[in-house]
Amino acid sequence: MLSCDKSLLDQDNPNTLTESQFWATESDAQRGVNAIYHMFYQPGTWSRWIYFRLDLTSDEGFSKSPWIELADWTRFQYVNYNFLEGNVITYKDTYKAIFRCNQVLTHVPTIAFADENKKAQLLAEAKFLRGFYYYYAALLWENFPIVTTLQSPTDMPEASTLADVWALVETDLSEAAQALPLQWNGNDIGRPTKGAALALLGKTYMQQHKWNEAKSALDYFITGEGTPYYDLVAYQDNFRAENENNKESVFEIQFSDANKTAEGDIPSSTMSTNRAQFFAPRSIGWSDGQARYWLVTEFKKEKTVDGEIDPRLRYSLFYPGLEADFGDKVYGRSWQWDADEAWFRKYARDYKQNHDDYFNEVNNRVIRFADVLLLYAEVLNELNQTASAYPYVDRVRARVNLAPLATAHPTIGNDKDRFRERLKMERALELCGESVRWADLKRWGDLETQAGINRVAERDPDFNNFVLDKHIRLPLPEVEVANNPNLTTNNPHY
């Protein structure tokens, strides 16, 4: 009888590297870091669903989707906590990104580099990105279990509090800021800079009302070494595929339409965003999300110094008067929707074509300099330096030819509360549809009293469903609570 060589049973995978072959060279480290950025292209994060959480859940947007459950998750009607598109996919993709960061932070320190500075930069990128994902996790779920080590299939993290998560974000971003360059060159442009880390760190402090720490971080842009690198550009250049990574950009997600394929970690997977396809008006896109009309009303309340309509309205929203006011159609169509409806125009490609699709290449300016200026003004105001806060707001207003704040709104004066109230609207008009509103509402405490909720509900009746101390955060996915004995309860009231 013949006998078989048992070595036949040792079959290597002919398709790809094994984990044990990887994490050996500088190139491995670089590729490992790059793979973290790819998470921006996955639907739970910045290619699709996170906008439903940040923009539509806030009072700027809402959903009339016929997909009832999808719409319910933008109006605080959370029934099934395992609903994929509303909750689980973003939760999962956040951990996927964190896993990639943790791989770099675990393996790269042991790799020998010719240039230690290069190594430090790669580690700093991973720290920035980990801090970035935890920042949004803190905004959405607050008590988001922290994972900083590589997980085996049986590992079960302990419960974490919001304070724990903020502490981690602060550490990661502070460390990242120390090693990230002031500017990148060539094909590295688009990676986080020192400014990106400090801006996000500033936001992190502000969410916790750590105003002094926030000011120190943001000083980088105002008085620090970052000053020469940032400026305001033509307003519309912040939302188009042209003039990306310009001087206003502090941190920008790089989208591309090079691969018109499916999402995920597959060959030639898409690097595009689907936001515009999901937010485009009915009959053009899925129209799963649209803007609240109060934004249009607010824009029209104040004219430019030349008596024109605020030009930001033109680039922010599709609304019934768009063609009459500015001569622009909606993806080539005249208004055919209801008279009180509006849609988000930022990042849409109507300026160059009559449809959108899943392969939109417009970079998302997650943090831009105008946002930083307004944040800085807010910090100064909270530190009782209201008078010194004015120039930063005025700089943002001046770009679109609006009169200085003190001229347009003379009643504010140095009243801290009135200044804050006006600043809220300044931020809405400058930044609506740019996914900052949910963090703003939380930071301002507008959702922490029933009276505050009622005021928000006047702009967005979905907030009539908002239950105090419950809907301020999302429920953790039910499966995660059920399967992790360390998580004894879900978030409060869920």
Binding site: C4, Q11, N15, Q21, I68, E69, R100, P153, G264, M271
Partner: protein, 989 residues
């Protein structure tokens, strides 16, 4: 059916008594040699000689009983009461018990079986209209659960004795000794025999891959004698069951009601259109099947050549399947040397279905036209103002989204045998199978649903190649001495499977001015390509020991050791032993019940393995696909990272099974009874148990040896047959009862959720876990008085006509915590009833199948009845209104899930059913007529399948199939079993 032909004794001459009994044994054609003749109650035995004569010592004064036995003939006892010499006529007796059964690397007489083996009558399989073998097996053997596909070219799902693991793995198929799959490429007309090895002792010889049972198929061989030609043709019509849906007028009334109730302005429905989407999407399917075979043989060998053609135009538009088959089986013998081969070549092509028309026809409104020249592509679909639905136009999808799958398969084996000694045989078997697969996908420009992105045309093509090489060496020893019969087998096997695929995609395909596109990858732009390869190796050593003492005591032991490349270094090998025994009580001297022809009790215990995981699952790999665009030029930079976690220590899944059974034949074999009781436990079940999301794992959950499952069940099969009269008939009833239970789940978890089901330790897999409804609120008082113990109004926002839910946790509000277990999708028992009858030239047969006690989820009804999103509605549905409160349908309410939640018991239904799976009548031309046309046999058969169904289930088909085992009972709009009527003719000459 079993034809027991009577044995009768003809007393010829009268002679004086003496101590030697003599006689002759015949069958209907003449003297029979080699018949075992034994004196009952003594060890005296002899055999008949060349001329059928025998001579045996016995004292006639004691009125001895002689037992005549011969393989293929009915064993008969003859009481010698004086007249000699005896002339005994044995006739071919195809009783179950005397059949020879293929059991893997050899055969056994069915009466010698110690394990649970079902033999399916090939004639029963072949009379059915089925694309695959599996599809035709339902109801023909106990313990086999088959759910058909229905779509042209689709595979049926088959499960032997319940669920052994979570992967729903099909059983192992062994075709002519080649381990393979009996997929759609196989021509059922070529089958000679099918046996199903159901328990551990029967299947253990296939060790590691046998845990889900083994289906052994042998194909036909030529018979000694002049050439025979067999030709058959079958033509079939197929129709799909349909929903009863509202027409435009009724639809509009209900749609307005749902909008009005929700205070939403009515949409501007186009009342001039009344489309029947079922007429648009469904049609009468047609199947044509032709086969011809040519066979014959002589002393030195035999041959069998067959060819077949099968074509199925589907019952859904733009679906089609066709197949060509060719087979050559030959054997030649010279002295101690035998060599043979089986070779089958098939070419199959399917035009696959896109989308799900069984949901699309519900979601489209009757007010939408099939065609609309204003839409890109020219098809009608939803409209924001006039017909708000996101349903897909099935006619558009069928045209614009075109998929085909084709493959050429060559499957065969070459074997040689060397009879080294009369009792010792060496066999070498070399098997090879390859399939060349070709898949195309053309996405034409155009839309089929509202708000669809405008994608350009796209063409995708992949070509793949799979191959299996099997090398086996076996040595078998067979010896009889006195009443002992010993059969020993030892063998070794090596199998290598490879698969490789490459693919390419282009967009913006070149349009052909004559219509359509140039579908070659030279055309178009934005190219993408890819490919991958897999290989697995299995090395095995096995042995079997069979011992039979006087046909009374049977012992069977099997051991198999398998090594698989799929497992980690320390876990590659697994050893799977089994032992079984049987006692044929009826052979005992003390057994005097003459009305019992045969009685055997059996018991066995064995282990089997399973390795149903990917080829490299134990190795964590780095995913090199994430690319990023960076910099002003958006240059594409490579990324690489681990995406999916892996468990290094994956090992064999092990099934431990006990089986107890008996077989009995009574009243001249008129009644046959076979019963089995079995307990099985699967340990280290390989499953992709869901990891915590916090692990960051993606790309599917990694396999782990996670759970323990148990199955307990019984099977009983009773046959009554009457073959002695011109009107012959037989009736077989079988019943199966099976209960699965989860003993342990992965990673120490207690329960896991999937869809609307929960799987808990100690309970069956996939129990329904939903909110319980409790009728409809009729008025405000009922709503206000519906309070919990603390007096909190439970559904304060409800209105009359809304559903009342049970507040199981008593917290005064309806949340997910109120979900409760409401039954499961597993049948309490399943029954089959097969009836056959013949009279002169006519024969008739009928197969019924029944399944009782399953609770199933009617997905299509949860779409039609929801009213929250626009769909078409069930005709005659009566939503609650103040004027019409006596209904179980809550008030229609648009754009709110208030009465439309999918996770409630409202959609659960009793899935019990009884179905006439098959009914057929055949007419065989009389030989007087046949002689004139030189045919030796000619037969016409008219048959139908699934013609009658009795059920309370309101969906299209209670016999649906969901491949997700946790959601087995969820009918998501599954392609139903079709009703068919076939006419077939068969000739032999």
């Amino acid at each position: 059916m079993n034809k027991i032909i009577i044995v009768f004794i003809v007393c010829m001459h009268v002679f004086a008594l003496h101590a030697q009994i003599t006689g002759t044994v015949w069958d209907k054609d003449g003297p029979l040699k080699g018949v075992a003749v034994a004196v009952k109650g003594s060890s005296t035995a002899t055999q008949s000689d060349q001329d059928g004569h025998f001579r045996i010592a016995a004292d006639p004064a004691a009125v001895p009983v002689l037992v005549f036995s011969h393989i293929g003939y009915l064993t008969q006892s003859v009481t010698v009461s004086g007249t000699q010499p005896l002339q005994v006529i044995l006739q071919v007796a195809n009783t179950d018990l005397d059949e020879v059964v293929v059991v893997g690397y050899g055969t056994q007489r069915k009466q010698d079986l110690t394990g649970a083996v079902s033999v399916v009558k090939v004639a029963d399989v072949q009379k059915r209209q089925a694309t695959t073998v599996a599809e035709s097996l339902q109801g023909l053997a106990t313990g086999i659960r088959v759910r058909g596909g229905g779509r042209p070219g689709s595979e049926a799902q088959i499960q032997i004795r319940g669920l052994k693991n979570f992967s729903g793995t099909p059983p192992l198929y062994v075709v002519d000794g080649l381990i393979t799959t009996a997929n759609r490429d196989f021509n059922p007309s070529d089958i000679e025999s099918i046996q199903i090895l159901k328990d551990a002792s029967a299947a253990a010889i296939y060790g590691s891959r046998a845990a889900n049972g083994v289906i052994i198929i042998t194909t036909k061989r030529g018979q000694q004698g002049p050439a025979q030609i067999e030709v058959s043709a079958k033509s079939t019509l197929q129709t799909t069951p349909r929903y009863n849906l509202a027409k435009t007028e009724e639809f509009a009334r209900l749609n307005y009601m749902a909008y009005d109730n929700a205070n939403v302005p009515r949409q501007d429905l186009d009342m001039t259109v009344d489309t029947d989407w079922q007429d648009a999407a469904f049609r009468t399917g047609k199947v044509q099947e032709y086969s011809a075979s040519f066979s014959g043989g002589g002393e030195g060998g035999n041959y069998f050549i067959s060819g077949g053609y099968f074509d199925n135009k589907g019952a859904v538009i733009s679906t089609d399947f066709n197949r060509f088959n060719f087979r050559v089986n030959t054997v030649s013998k010279k002295g101690i040397f035998t060599i043979g081969e089986n070779l089958a070549i098939s070419n199959a092509k399917a035009d696959e279905m896109s989308g799900n028309p069984y949901i699309d026809v519900l979601r489209l409104l009757p007010t939408i036209p099939v065609y609309n020249p204003d839409n890109p592509g020219g098809y009608g679909y939803g409209d924001e103002r006039r017909a708000r639905t996101f349903g897909s136009n099935p006619v558009a999808i069928a045209d614009l989204d075109d998929r085909t799958n084709a493959n050429l398969r060559i499957r065969g084996n070459l074997f040689s045998e060397l009879q080294l000694l009369p009792s010792l045989k060496y066999r070498f078997n070399l098997g090879y199978e390859t399939s060349r697969d070709h898949h195309t996908y053309l996405r034409k420009a155009g839309s089929w649903t509202l708000n669809q992105p405008l994608d350009p045309s796209q063409y995708h093509e992949n070509r793949a190649e799979s191959s299996t090489v099997l090398v086996e060496n076996t040595l078998s020893f067979e010896k009889e001495f006195n009443a002992h019969r010993l059969n020993v087998l030892a063998g070794q096997s090596y199998q290598r499977d490879r698969y490789a695929q490459m693919w390419g995609t282009k967009r913006n395909m070149l349009e052909n001015p004559n219509g359509g596109y140039y579908t070659v990858l030279d055309q178009g732009n934005e190219p993408q390509t890819g490919g991958f390869a897999n290989r697995t190796d299995i090395i095995s050593y096995f042995g079997r020991f069979e011992y039979n003492y006087a046909d009374k005591y049977l012992v069977n032991g099997i051991i198999r050791t398998d090594g698989a490349s799929r497992f980690g270094n320390n876990y590659k090998f697994g050893t799977f032993p089994s032992i079984s025994g049987a006692w044929r009580i009826s052979q005992e001297d003390f057994f005097q019940a003459s009305w019992i022809n045969d009685l055997k009790v059996r018991a066995n215990y064995g282990t089997l393995g399973s390795s149903n995981i990917g080829p490299y699952d134990y190795i964590p790999v780095v995913n090199t696909f994430p690319t990023i665009a960076m910099g002003p030029g958006q240059v594409i930079l490579p990324g690489a990272t681990q995406v999916k976690l892996a468990n290094h220590d994956l090992r064999w899944e092990t099934l431990i099974q006990q089986n107890y059974g008996f077989d009995a034949a009574f009243l001249n074999n008129r009644i046959n009874v076979s019963a089995e009781y079995f307990i099985s436990k699967t340990k280290d079940v390989l499953l992709q148990y869901p990891l915590l999301l916090s692990t960051g794992n993606d790309g599917g959950n990694p396999f782990t040896n996670g759970a323990t499952l148990s199955n307990r069940g019984m099977e009983l099969s009773v046959t009554y047959q009457e073959n002695t009269k011109p009107f012959q008939y037989s009736v077989t009833a079988n019943i199966k009862k099976l209960r699965n239970r989860v003993v342990d789940l992965g990673y120490g978890q207690n329960r896991t959720f999937s869809g609307n089901t929960v799987t808990e330790k100690g309970q069956p897999i996939g129990m329904w876990y939903v909110l319980e409804t409790d009728g409809i609120f009729q008025n405000i008082e009922e709503i206000n008085s519906y309070q919990n113990a603390e007096g909190r109004v439970i559904q304060p926002n409800a209105q009359p006509g809304d559903i009342r839910f049970k507040d199981h946790n008593g917290d005064g509000t309806i949340t997910n915590a109120d979900k409760t277990i409401v039954g499961d999708a597993w049948a309490d028992y399943e029954m089959g009833l097969n009836m056959n009858a013949s009279y002169k030239q006519f024969s008739f047969s009928m197969d019924w199948f029944g399944s009782f006690g399953a609770t199933v989820f009617n997905g299509p009804r949860s779409v039609m009845d929801m009213f929250s999103d626009n769909t078409n509605y069930r005709a005659d549905i009566q939503p609650w209104t103040p004027e019409n409160p006596n209904t179980d349908v809550p008030r229609a309410y648009y754009a709110s899930t208030i009465n439309a939640r999918g996770d409630t018991d409202r959609w659960l239904e009793d899935g019990s059913f009884v179905r006439l799976k098959y009914i057929g009548v055949s007419y065989r031309l009389p030989s007087s007529l046949l002689d004139k046309i030189y045919f030796s046999e000619a037969q016409v058969t008219l048959s139908g399948q699934n013609l009658l169904t009795f059920t309370k289930y309101t969906g299209l088909d209670p016999e649906f199939n969901n491949s997700n085992i946790f959601q087995k009972g969820h009918d998501f709009g599954v392609f139903p079993n079709l009703r068919t009527v076939s006419l077939g003719v068969q000739f032999r000459f």
